[in-house]
């Protein structure tokens, strides 16, 4: 756990949205570390705050949102920057965005401007962060496109997003994210909108590229299968908080938090005896607006203890090395 090995550290990150209806605590005290060249999986159901966490890191939370806490970014030159203190519209953060930390999104169609060629959009990222001329940037972009497996990149570079298929578009997005050789890639559900066969292609590609570029990845998804496939460590989020955090093996083979346990059991698994009854979690994920006191999961928790869970918020306890749980069962 020495600092040299860390790339990014979140300390008590809070992102609240101040709405007319009340304060929406999308991210409420999230802390974790990402090591260099490792992949962290951020998993949770819709509304758990995983995407907002990613946006908070880059400081691109949409309008009524406010970010507090610390986001310590260990740059290559051993400088540490607290991203949370930067002006979200300032130059410093802009120099980091798309350069040292990059991001890819779920919907590759809407994430690319429909009116600009993919080359234009990739080159923009290059030209913003590297002092090279347009021709060089173009060559670089073609090279990147080639790397992400787009056939005939010198031709494709001048095409518009809608001319590409979903898989190719996502590849282009990845090319755009990687063209400045970032230290950290935040992938926000990059394969959710894709077919399984294409998803497999993209996952494979990302693994290869990680090896090649030696970057860290924060991989955000709701699909536990994908998490199992690609990550080294996993943080399970529920309603703005991390409820369990551990290595991939621990999470899948020794889940502790009732939520994680139930979640894993509720998913049908290929190759199991069919038509078995699934275990499910009662109720649904509520909106993180005006939440009850106590553990956020207790209304749905089968192991809920009256007078304990509904009064206090359980702390995140390290039960084992590399395995933390936020539950009174493991206090």
């Amino acid at each position: 756990m020495n600092n040299n090995n860390s790339l990014l550290e979140l300390k008590n990150l809070r992102t609240y949205f101040y709405l007319d209806e009340g304060v929406l605590k999308a991210v409420d005290g999230v802390s974790f570390k990402i090591k260099r060249e490792k992949t962290l999986g951020l998993v949770g159901e819709s509304g758990c705050g995983k995407s907002v966490t990613a946006q908070s890191i880059l400081r691109i939370v949409p309008h009524p949102g406010k970010t507090e806490g610390e986001i310590l970014f260990y740059q290559n030159n051993k400088k540490v920057i607290d991203l949370a203190r930067l002006d979200p519209f300032g130059k410093e953060i802009r120099n980091i965005r798309g350069n040292e930390i990059t991001m890819i999104f779920q919907e590759p169609m809407t994430s690319l401007s429909p009116l600009h060629t993919i080359g234009n959009q990739i080159m923009e990222a290059i030209l913003l962060h590297q002092k090279i001329n347009k021709q060089k940037a173009r060559r670089l972009a073609i090279e990147m496109l080639d790397k992400v497996g787009i056939p005939i990149p010198s031709q494709r570079i001048d095409e518009y997003p809608h001319q590409l298929s979903g898989g190719l578009r996502q590849r282009a997005m990845i090319a755009m994210a990687l063209c400045c050789k970032p230290n950290l890639l935040i992938a926000d559900e990059p394969t959710t909108a894709l077919d399984v066969t294409v998803q497999a292609q993209i996952l494979e590609l990302m693994k290869d590229l990680q090896k090649e570029f030696g970057m860290s990845i924060i991989y955000i998804t709701h699909n536990l299968g994908v998490i199992a496939e690609i990550t080294d460590e996993v943080a399970v989020m529920y309603l703005g908080k991390i409820v369990e955090y551990g290595s991939i093996d621990e999470i899948f083979h020794n889940p502790l938090h009732p939520y994680t346990v139930r979640l894993l059991k509720s998913i049908p698994k290929v190759g199991r005896k069919a038509r078995m009854r699934l275990e499910s979690i009662k109720g649904a994920v509520p909106l993180p607006l005006g939440l009850p006191r106590g553990c956020r999961f207790y209304p749905r928790c089968p192991q809920f203890k009256e007078g304990l869970c509904n009064l206090d918020n359980p702390p995140l306890v390290e039960v084992q090395e590399k395995h933390k749980v936020r539950c009174f069962l493991f206090g």
């Binding site: 299968g225 199992a228 190759g271 699934l278």
Partner: protein
Amino acid sequence: MSEDNIKALLEIKNLKKYFYIEKGFWKKIVGYIKAVDGINLYVSKGETLGLVGESGCGKTTLGRCILRAIEPTGGEVLFRTEEGITVDITQLDKEDLRLIRKDMQMIFQDPYSSLDPRMTVFDIIGEPIVINKIAEGKELKDRVKDLVKVVGLNVKHLKRYPHAFSGGQRQRIGIARALAVNPKFIVADEPVSALDVSVQAQILNLMQDLQKEFNLTYLFISHDLSVIEHISDRVAVMYVGKVVELADTEELFFRPKHPYTEALLSAVPKLDPRLRMERIILLGEVANPANPPPGCYFHPRCNYAKAICKNVEPEWQKVGPDHWATCHRAGELNLRGVT
């Protein structure tokens, strides 16, 4: 297929649905998308037939064609009524269609757009009952209440509007609506894909329970192989408007005969980090149904493709007991199933 005809509740013969591509002022037809391209299937009473495939393969269109929610271009959809009469749904007039629809219902993918936001839960669930004049007045109320209980919703919430409910609850309302007319056959079009994982299990369980309780027959459409495997008795795999493989669930998952099925199975991420294995990575993406490749539509991505695959369209052939596939090499290949 013939030996199964007797117990089939529904039989689809050579069903086709082409969408025309129109162009210009005069709407000249310049081509067509073969969304459903000559499909043969049957569904037995009480079973769940899973229909799996990637986006754009035509599975939703097939589901809708069966109910004639959209007009099929050709083929037959034979349905056996309670009285044991077999009717061709594609040939029915409006009145008869309305009658037969009492027996066939649908559950939709999007729990948001499938409920009219301007109607209360009571009205939504009661609508099919009123339309088909099954009950009215107090009887209607009781019936709706029963349905609501059956799908696990609070009876007190009948006056609420859909906007008061979460996705899972909405899907329950949708199911209650489908059940309102006592159907025998339900087309479930991706009923869980828009839901959260934890809720998805609830709905799947509910559907299984209901199947038992009401002796329902499902055509379950999904792109998620794990869900399909979980719920189906038999599975049909679709690729670009055609069914490429059909078999019992276990047979298909463990002994696939079509390379596409194999690839599909291989591509599904396993829920176990220790099982990270070598997968079969297919090249490219699903073919464009408006402009499919010649021969076997799958051949450009197929690892086993031979010359014949590029030119000749493969036949729908029986490759085992209750196992059909559309592949030239289905007999010779030994493909890897789920391990």
